[in-house]
Symmetry: C2
């Protein structure tokens, strides 16, 4: 799919749904979103039964606009994946009963180290970007590997396919296998700089792809390496991503490795790696003091519930993080996470919040306050994620002046006489709509039953970047 073709003024016509605040999901049954040639939303109409009237209202320039309709679904903002590992894609679903540290040794390092092979990188990265796009992910914060050419290739692929991406060359100069490690602090910094320069050269405005400085996690980097990367972040004003407080053994390891630090978070703070452009993945077991430090620095949290559950890392108390004023988005964390889908992550965030509720010390009664609602989880997947990657003014919802990063969700209809021919392939995928549902209920059905089959088309900045056979162009 070419992401470079020029686009014309387009009216996206039909129902739309988006978050307006953490608790509130706007559900508009008859809307119209006017998007200009630059992919910017120029008008949002909420009572658009008569399309001709809408066109007339906005003047002659909209008379000849293209119209993209959705009748059996709705437009929804593109998902933001705030943390995932593109090279681990082939390991999706392979974790067995491991936890973080043995999982890294068993599954992750051997695969990542093979990305010196650019042909292999091409196949896996192309496939993974296709996968994330097919699930409606319009912006993705990617860990790559420590290989500069393969990292740059991932940025090339994202730019070509039109998916917004933060692409990070992974740094690690200790406690990684001999065969997969930076030779020195200087080498780690130089390679990071090289990848930053390349990515900024292919997209100088940073509209689609941007570099992100990526110390794997504290145990993989010496203190001087972390500090050097902190300096690099300051010099380059680049984004930063790393992991924090994922599992209790890892936290104990960090305390051993950095005996003078006050906490895992403090290790990064000491190295000046906590900035308003920093994404911290996991944050499952943070102390109140660590939360305060992160808030004070303006760093952001990527909540990765599928991964935390699969690797038995713990149940992140998201409500507490939100109540502490932290900015939270969702991350698939492939392949600790077992799915490239943020919609799956929405569900997993809801399940984890229920487990937090059920763990409540108030015994019999569950702690209902801990539970995330459907609306809240969708907020984390869109506006929350946008704020985590620093794009809250550009994407995440449908407002005039924002870019049109969106998915067309189609739901189909349960066959009147039942499905008799043994296949649901023509019936609209996994969601069963019987016809009496409200739009709110359709949204619930999509969240709990839907998948990539319902994501008929995806746009970034008004450009079509993915479609299924169900969306004809």
């Amino acid at each position: 799919m070419a992401a470079s073709a020029s686009i014309s003024k387009t009216i996206y016509y039909g129902a739309f749904v988006h978050s307006v605040s953490l608790a509130d999901l706007e559900v508009c049954p008859k809307g119209a979103l006017g998007v200009d040639e630059a992919g910017v939303i120029k008008f949002v109409e909420r009572d658009a039964a008569d399309l001709e009237k809408i066109k007339a209202k906005h003047g002659g320039e909209w008379k000849e606009a293209s119209v993209v309709r959705v009748d059996d679904g709705f437009f929804f903002p593109g998902f933001i994946d705030t943390h995932t590992h593109a090279p681990q894609h082939p390991n999706t679903g392979l974790f067995g009963k491991t936890t973080l540290l043995d999982w890294l040794e068993t599954y992750t390092f051997p695969l990542e180290s093979s990305f010196s092979d650019l042909q292999k990188a091409q196949r896996i990265y192309s496939n993974f970007v296709s996968r994330t796009l097919s699930h409606g992910t319009t912006t993705c914060a990617y860990y790559a590997t420590n290989h500069v050419p393969a990292t740059n290739l991932l940025a090339d692929i994202c730019l070509k396919r039109g998916q917004r991406a933060l692409v990070g060359r992974v740094c690690m100069n200790t406690m990684s296998p001999e065969y997969y490690r930076d030779a020195s602090v200087d080498a780690a910094v130089a390679a990071s700089q090289e990848s930053i320069d390349y990515i900024r050269s292919i997209d100088p405005a940073g509209d689609i792809v941007k570099p992100i400085i990526t110390p794997r996690f504290a145990p993989s980097c010496t203190a001087d390496c972390l500090s050097a990367l902190g300096n690099l972040a300051q010099q380059t004003d680049a984004h930063v991503q790393t992991h924090v407080s994922e599992n209790t053994s890892e936290i104990a390891l960090v305390q051993d490795l950095f005996p003078t630090s006050k906490s895992y978070t403090d290790v990064y703070d000491t190295a000046n790696l906590l900035t308003p452009k920093t994404i911290l993945a996991h944050a499952v077991h943070l102390s109140p003091a660590e939360r305060q430090t992160i808030k004070a620095r303006g760093a952001k949290i990527s909540h990765c519930p599928a991964s935390n559950t699969a690797l038995t890392s713990g149940c992140c108390p998201v409500r507490e993080l939100l109540n502490a004023g932290l900015t939270v988005g969702l991350g698939t964390d492939v392949s600790g996470g077992f799915s490239p889908s943020i919609l799956e992550e929405v569900r997993q965030a809801i399940w984890v919040s229920r487990f937090v509720a059920m763990q409540s010390p108030s015994a019999a009664a569950t702690d209902n306050a801990a539970k995330l609602s459907t609306a809240e989880a969708l907020y984390l997947a869109t506006r929350g994620g946008a704020a985590v990657v620093g794009l809250e003014d550009r994407v995440g919802g449908f407002e005039v002046g924002k870019d049109f990063d969106a998915q067309m969700i189609r739901l189909g209809s349960a066959p009147e006489g039942g499905e008799q021919n043994g296949t649901f392939e023509l019936a609209g995928g996994p969601v069963d709509v019987f016809g009496w549902e409200t739009l709110e209920e359709k949204v619930e059905k999509w969240v709990y039953s839907g998948d990539d089959r319902n994501c008929a088309a995806v746009w970034v900045k008004g450009r079509l970047v993915h479609r299924t056979g169900r969306y004809e162009v």
Copy 2:
């Protein structure tokens, strides 16, 4: 799809995978399963590189046998869904933040009561049987509603489509809404008897459909109603299904309603409803004494993790139930559960076991013993479920003398140059196989990433009962 066409001797040729015990999954890369005209497995070959040799070995009658091959996947036993509510299908995904008791009032009773409308029942039941078949469910224990005609219609549909089913007319003579309640104990028993007689008349051998006595749950039935249904179970030698110990408020309610009972389980035991043919759904909060009673009576457990999580009912400690010697299968419990797929339930059982592990009082270290392995969860989904519904001698695995109830799992292959045309529809669904995976790893990928798209075809007793466009007949 007609399930009544006669079948010919068939050799199912390719990899097969099935549980041999709770812990052990047999993975055979080059197998052959010979199935006769009655749908019975006549031979199982594990080293079947040369098909002609296999045919010759088994004699002239297999020379002309049909051959069904799978090259990019494997044969797997059909799934057993030990607990679900067919009429609640249209409510799938609708639960919000409710828990059991308010969920029943808000979502369930209004929908179920509408099944006095047979046309509506036809649409919903046809659709739901198609759905469960499409996910590889070859046997299903269904709750219907309290309407005899609609319940009998569900049995008709299962028989016609060829899905093994236990079909239960729901009894409730108290604490249900006035508009949806049995008028008296006698009326409840008579209606149950009527449905039992009908279902036995359409399938006298009980090969495909059987009746099951279904007191909704203790709070919906008075003590005399439960006793009368216990008597009916004894007189008719029918299966029994009900719910037990799902959520703590419900348990407290049962204690209030049955003040002389020793426990929730004791209420059923007093009514002689705990038999070797009884399925108890949920069993989340059982005391050790209750587990002992259930074991002593030979009753079985349907573990419904998706539902327990969605409704915040609790984390069923499955390992403890297994260690106590109880027989456990999986149930989707639609629409408390949000999916008609037992494969999803396999994943959810694994997640719940991880949450149990993370709740362990042994603090920092998680209780690894609580975690279900992939193999164990697949066992619950097949052999465990078969034992729960009393079919352990007929289905659940591939052995000579068992019926061939099976699914063909196809996995496809990740495109060599990446997926460029914006759709994965031709690439084999949601699982990415790169070519270097072992068959064991492919099974893991299927379990954690797969869905109904990978379930290319389904057989019950050797009859094709579902196929997707990817399986040509």
